[in-house]
């Protein structure tokens, strides 16, 4: 029981570090030095020391938003086999709970944004509500595929130990499609380029950032931490699929997992550096691509498995 707790804590501790890797990669492509690699820890430390400012027009919903979104991300992590280690909790159907935990976090972020009655935040909320719906279709189709391959509806049945290797053996090449699709979902869910630009200062073009404009101090810190953890969550899933091996030693597995995670974060950074973001009305098409990919993967796999 100690090991899962340890990895769970380790995941939350290292999530801000991994996010900073993206900043470093982007800085490299931009010909800059970039911020220090521990920048996100400094930011969190700074934010948690501050006080919060609340608008008179907001209600308790506004204050609940950050807490629930962080809480949801942290709870979702409890079910995830990190570095191939057993998760803290696992039961039949936990995947659906996890997906809706993350959905709950988003719901309250949106509700908090609407609570401010700012036209900017309303626009951001509308966009934030729209794009992940398409992601959900992709995720559920992936779930159907994984269920057919493994016969189980648990995260640990897909990502624990050598399980991902079984998925590869059963599905073969179509799983590449799934990896790409999940990477697109990762970019969308975590508001990265080409869907959103986390670095922009222009409210009118923002999706996620504009929704948290009114949050300050510890509230903003919770939102930031929650977003690091959420990114870690999706990256772990992609990482386990591209590095499906199990060495049998927690330490070695952890190190190799970290290296593979760095690669995934690095690819996110490279994606952000080599392309512009899409026009807002093109984004749904991009996200739908992930659905199409998984759809084909499922069809092909079904055919082979008959």
């Amino acid at each position: 029981m100690i090991k899962p707790i340890l990895f769970w804590l380790l995941a939350m501790l290292t999530a801000p570090f991994f996010s900073a890797v993206i900043l470093k990669v982007k800085a490299f492509f931009g010909g800059k030095k970039g911020p220090p690699i521990l920048i996100n820890y400094y930011t969190l430390f700074k934010l948690f020391q501050k006080g919060s400012v609340y608008s008179h027009s907001t209600t308790f919903i506004f204050k609940m938003g950050p807490m629930i979104s962080l809480g949801a991300a942290v709870t979702a992590l409890l079910f995830l086999p990190i570095a191939g280690q057993p998760p803290m909790f696992s039961w039949h159907g936990d995947v659906i709970l996890v997906l809706y935990l993350l959905g709950l976090g988003r719901f309250f972020t949106i509700a908090a944004a609407m609570d401010t009655a700012s036209p900017f935040e309303g626009m951001g909320a509308a966009r934030e509500a729209y794009f992940p719906i398409i992601c959900e279709a992709t995720l559920f189709l992936t779930l159907i595929l994984f269920f057919m391959l493994s016969g189980e509806l648990r995260l640990s049945a897909y990502f624990f130990g050598g399980e991902p290797l079984h998925l590869w053996r059963a599905a073969g090449a179509p799983l590449f499609f799934v990896v790409i699709a999940l990477f697109i979902v990762l970019l969308t869910e975590n508001t990265r380029v080409p869907v959103d630009d986390p670095a922009t200062h222009l409210e009118l073009t923002m999706i996620h950032e504009v929704m948290v404009l009114d949050h300050s101090g510890p509230d903003l810190g919770m939102i930031e931490l929650g977003s690091y953890i959420k990114l870690f969550f999706y990256s772990t899933i992609v990482t386990r699929l591209i590095w499906p091996y199990d060495m049998g030693n927690a330490f070695v597995d952890g190190a190799l997992f970290a290296a593979a995670m760095l690669a995934v974060y690095g690819v996110v950074g490279i994606t952000e550096s080599v392309m512009a973001r899409y026009r807002m009305d093109k984004v749904p098409k991009f996200v739908l691509t992930s659905f199409a990919l998984v759809f084909f993967a499922t069809i092909i796999t079904l055919e082979f498995m008959k």
Binding site: K26, F29, G30, G31, K32, P119, F120, G122, M123, V193, P194, D197, A199, T200, H201, L202, E203, L204, T205, E272, S273, M275, A276, R277, Y278, R279, M280, D281, K282
Partner: protein, 503 residues
């Protein structure tokens, strides 16, 4: 075309007697027929003399500047009703002199200040309240319409202006732009002050166009005093104007790239903009070229050493600039954002009177450097730029092309060692009873100053026009039926001046 308007020369004073003073009805008819026949409005303003308000218009056709004046009636049939390019100018006259253009389709204040002669206010404003934005904005009705208000305090470190979007979903139906927050009364400030202070004042009209406005003022004073500028000074001024153009265009191309989240050009352009500003610094000790241009010449000579240093720096930068511009336009995801975004048709651009890169992007090739050459431009061949599409891509492309062309122009001028005399003395008296209009192509487009002196040689009217005065409505037009999330991109593709408009 035959017209009652009198042809005047750019930068040369014309005696006021020689400029036709028409009865208002004739003036109106002639001006309308000029502009309908393809002419454009350079200036249309009022001025007060002996307790009477008079109007003066400077128009241009393909290769001439034409001027005429008239007495201003207290109210008249708006020219805008029949000919849109007068739209902003008539609003400005109404604001400055309380003269009402009857039937003007959009009689809205321009900058929010009481008129100069304490006539009843045309807009019914109480100027005791110091908020320009207190005004009923154009609104769209409907269940699904939402309004977004942006500014006057902005997210980026830019100037104040208020933007009111009427949207249906993500689509903008109408954008109304409200400015005036930076109004400093520059025009009365100039006539009220000794002309020796003018250089400092005009360089502050729009800090990023210090050379453009500085040149217009200097040429006007030179025209009125008969001061000769030596060839070396002409070259230095031309180089300074081109450096200003390059630095701003490069900076904006970088910002456009940053707005679509394509980082490499954003970073490199930011650095290269600094490199070009530093060349202005090398020339005169100020990154924006302030303090270089003065009536009669320049304050800093260009030595052989300077030419060597600048040529060396340009030789090093040119391949980098070409590479980064190539990278920006060669990246398909960037083109996907630029192409077709915020397009303005050529005919709309003509009605709005767009100038500069914004006009050239809509297929209006007018470039004051070619049509009304001043300084050293007569000796240079300025290529004709025009893009047909009128979208963000066209505006960016024009600017990218101009950067590379300007680098070549500067390089060719640096090859030519000419002695420069430094000016030390101030010019003496202004020609009495004269009108002078100066036109220069600054980086945003046509900058023009127009001065009128009385019989004692005192300046009774100093009229300034920044290209932003024409182009702000182009931005509003670009946003019609465009996604609201593309507003920052369009805004940056114009990058208009708030203070240059507000005066």
């Amino acid at each position: 075309m035959k017209t009652a308007f009198k042809e005047i020369e750019n930068g040369k004073p014309t005696e006021r007697e020689a400029i036709p003073h028409l009865p208002f009805t004739d003036f109106r008819r002639e001006a309308l027929s000029m502009v309908r026949g393809g002419g454009r409005v350079v200036h249309f303003f009022g001025y007060e003399e002996a307790d009477a308000v008079k109007l003066m218009a400077v128009l241009r056709d393909d290769d001439r500047l034409l001027a005429a004046g008239c007495d201003a009636p207290e109210a008249y049939d708006a020219l805008t009703r029949e000919c849109e390019p007068f739209h902003m100018f008539e609003r400005e006259i109404a604001e400055q002199f309380g003269i009402r253009p009857e039937g003007h389709p959009w009689l809205k204040m321009v900058r929010y200040h009481p008129n100069y002669r304490s006539a009843p206010d045309v807009f019914g404003n109480d100027y005791g309240e110091d908020i320009p934005g207190r005004y009923d904005y154009y609104a769209v009705d409907g269940q699904e319409i939402h309004e977004v208000a942006v500014g006057p305090v902005h997210a980026g470190v830019i100037e104040p202006g208020h933007f009111r979007f009427n949207c249906i979903g993500e689509r903008v139906l109408h954008l109304e732009i409200h400015l005036g927050y930076q109004h400093r009364s520059v025009e009365p400030l100039l006539t009220g002050n000794d002309y020796r202070r003018w250089p400092i004042i005009v360089e502050g009209i729009a800090g990023d166009t210090a050379i453009g406005h500085g040149l217009c003022m200097a040429q006007a004073v030179e025209g009125l005093t008969g001061l000769e500028v030596d060839a070396g000074a002409r070259i230095s001024r031309t180089i300074a104007l081109e450096f200003e153009r390059i630095a701003n265009h490069v900076g904006d191309l970088g910002a456009l790239s940053g707005d679509v989240a394509f980082l490499p050009p954003a970073n490199y352009c930011g650095r290269m903009r600094g490199d070009f500003l530093n060349m202005s610094l090398w020339m005169c000790g100020n990154r924006f070229g302030k303090g270089l241009v003065r009536p009669g010449g320049v304050r800093f000579p260009m030595t052989d050493e300077d030419r060597k240093v600048l040529t060396g720096r340009i030789d090093e930068l040119q391949p980098q600039v070409a590479h980064v511009i190539g990278l920006l336009f060669g990246t398909s995801s960037v083109r996907a954002r630029f192409d077709g975004c915020g397009a303005v048709s050529r005919s709309d651009a003509g009605h709005l009177g767009l100038v500069g890169p914004a006009g050239r992007a809509c297929g209006l090739p007018y470039d004051a450097r070619r049509v009304f050459p001043t300084e050293n431009y007569r000796r240079l061949s300025i290529p004709e730029n025009a893009e047909p599409t009128g979208d963000v891509y066209a505006r960016a492309k024009i600017r990218g092309d101009e950067v590379l062309q300007s680098i070549d122009l500067i390089r060719s001028m640096l090859r030519n060692p000419v002695e420069t005399a430094i000016i030390e003395e101030w010019p003496k008296d202004f020609a009495p009873g004269a009108v002078v209009a100066t036109v220069n192509e600054a980086w945003r487009g046509e900058v023009s100053h127009c001065l009128i002196t009385d019989d004692a040689g005192k300046v009774v009217r100093y009229k300034i026009k920044d290209p932003s005065f024409h182009n702000w409505n182009g931005l509003a037009m670009s946003l019609r039926d465009t996604g609201i999330s593309d507003f920052p991109l369009n805004n940056k593709s114009y990058n208009l001046s708030y203070c240059g408009f507000d005066l």
